[in-house]
Amino acid sequence: MADDAIDFVLPLGGHEPARLARVSQAEEELRGLLVASLGGSAVDYRRFLERLGSHLRAYYKGKLVRSGRTDTEAEDLVQETLMVIHTRRHTYDVTQPVTPWVHAIARYKLIDHLRQTRATAANVPVEDAGVLLAHGDHVAAESSLDVARLLAHLPAKMRSAIQSTKVDGLSTAEAAARSGMSETAVKVSVHRGLKALAKLVGGTAR
């Protein structure tokens, strides 16, 4: 029975029976959930996203930590990938296994992310599809989207000053050039903005 299940998962060559069994189990489970979801089951869809989220987390953490990146970045990618899987779920062909489909998306988003953040894809090994489903990780770090949500509460000037200097990592001079404000104005905005942010965070903590 286990052999049949292993054969079902396509692109693996095998010296790791335990991992293979885990992968094929995950494949069958995810496939069942996704097929049910596409047929209209919202409950299965939620479960599908949860399972997939944990696989994606393990995958992205594994890839990014090796090249010295943070958990937050991995979590951003998990969310980005879940979102595109949601909006492009019609591209899944129900006659095909789900692993290669999910892996192709996860890998595409990883490479796209690395390219955008100016690292070379060569730094991060990109492997076969089975790797994605071999592990799960349920410890979710919060993504940086939280910062974006908090920033949205600030006035435009403070928001752009903090965005430039603290999130995008520009120098004060670069931020001034980008926003058209003077350097002093940028510094003042950052200072005030950070104070306002601290208040907001304190407020939400209470």
Partner: protein, 216 residues
Amino acid sequence: MKTDDLIGFLGSSFEREPVRTSWMTRRLGLAVAVGAACALFLALAVLGVRPGLMQGRPLLFLAFKLAFAAAVGGLAIRYLVRVASPGGESRVHLGIAALPFVAVAALAGASLTTVPREHWHGQISGHSWLECLVSIPLIAIVPFALVTWAVRRFGAPTDLIRAGALVGLAAGAVSALGYSLHCMDDTVPFVAVWYGGTIALCTLAGAVLGPRLLRW
């Protein structure tokens, strides 16, 4: 934002409608069809139909050109639909997509052996090779833009070079379809070199532009 919140959000925005890949296939097919209609319109409006198109030899060659373009376009759509899905590139065989080119090149070679060498030049360059060289890629721009939009909107290609190449191939094919109504040259080597060459050029342009245009 916590990932659990996102999942909750995505789960609640889930529509209870079955979705299938056939939906995307139809959209992409429609985009190519509309692109073909645009190419036909452009060719007719700007270049006009060739006089005497419905007579013996011109009609025979029109059928030949249309068959070539349709074969290329058909294979392009077949693989475009696959490459538009994540991981679908593994089920794309560009070698098979090149078969119509090989077949026409073989026919051209065979037909050249039947004429003396000094006529080869005339057989290949015909009356209007330059017009063909310019027209097919220019007419292909509109279908190319349309199909590119459709792939971005409805698909999720993960091999953007191949996806771009196939968009270019489809656009070149429907452009050749339109241009064939105007084309004045009735030799097999002409079709092989100038139709085949310009469609290949469109494919190459698509492969180069794909990574920029098809990102999602």
